[in-house]
Amino acid sequence: MATITIGIMDPPYESANTPTAFRLVDAALRKGHNVNVFCYEGATALGYAGQKQHPNAVHGASVEEEDHPNPKDWVKELFLLAAEKNVKLIWCNCGLCVDERGVENQVEGACRGSPVDAWKYSEGSDGVLMIGTE
């Protein structure tokens, strides 16, 4: 079992980097590795609990029909997967970035930290990947 740290910067709904990051975390957990995720800047909104699904007026789809995926649900699923695999998932948000964006209301399990924590996670990891924003 290894420990992997992944840094994410992109906000939700904007970049293909986000699903790539989620896929990496998912794959690492499935392989039985511990994962630290450090969310910086816009990525701190990924776990914002206030995200809501919406209908799609263009296609005439209701909220249920559209079933728009929200990343907060993906974060929740990753915590469930970690528990199922009996490995540790840390989902740490940069506190200053959270405050700037007013996204304090996070899904259960997400924690608050600073770039110092990102450094500590990296120091204690076998592998580190920082996915910068454009």
């Binding site: 290894a2 992997i4 293909a16 980097n17 790539t20 896929r23 990496l24 794959a27 690492a28 392989k31 590795h33 076998d126 592998g127 580190v128 990947l129 920082m130 996915i131 910068g132």
Partner: protein, 108 residues
């Protein structure tokens, strides 16, 4: 031997960074590193047979292992049988294995 994992998410036609990333991969290989170059997202567009991307072609001749994310290929309807010789379709698990093994990783 140092292990490097370089993940390219952009196509060479959308960003000039890609050319520099290819060059860095070649130089790391020339300096004795073991380099895995993982194409993901629009990065896989360059892997199509016939894609005019001399940078990737040079990389394929430089003993760099080049992988293309199978999910990104499917998203873009690129048949894994139709990609350039030397590029191997790969699950994202390969990235996890390299990270778990301590490879130094860069994302572009």
């Amino acid at each position: 031997m140092n292990q490097y994992l370089m993940i390219q998410s952009k196509s060479p036609w959308e960003s000039r960074e890609v050319g520099h990333f290819y060059a860095l991969a070649r130089e790391l290989r020339q300096s004795g590193g073991e380099v895995t170059f993982f194409l993901v997202q629009n990065g896989v567009m360059a892997a199509r047979t016939g894609a005019n991307d001399p940078g990737l072609d040079q990389l394929l001749g430089a003993k760099v292992k080049v992988l293309a994310d199978d999910f990104s290929l499917r998203e873009r309807a690129i048949d894994p049988e139709s990609i350039k010789n030397g590029v191997s379709p790969s699950p994202i698990d390969q990235v996890v294995d390299l990270l778990a093994g301590g490879a130094k990783a860069l994302f572009c």
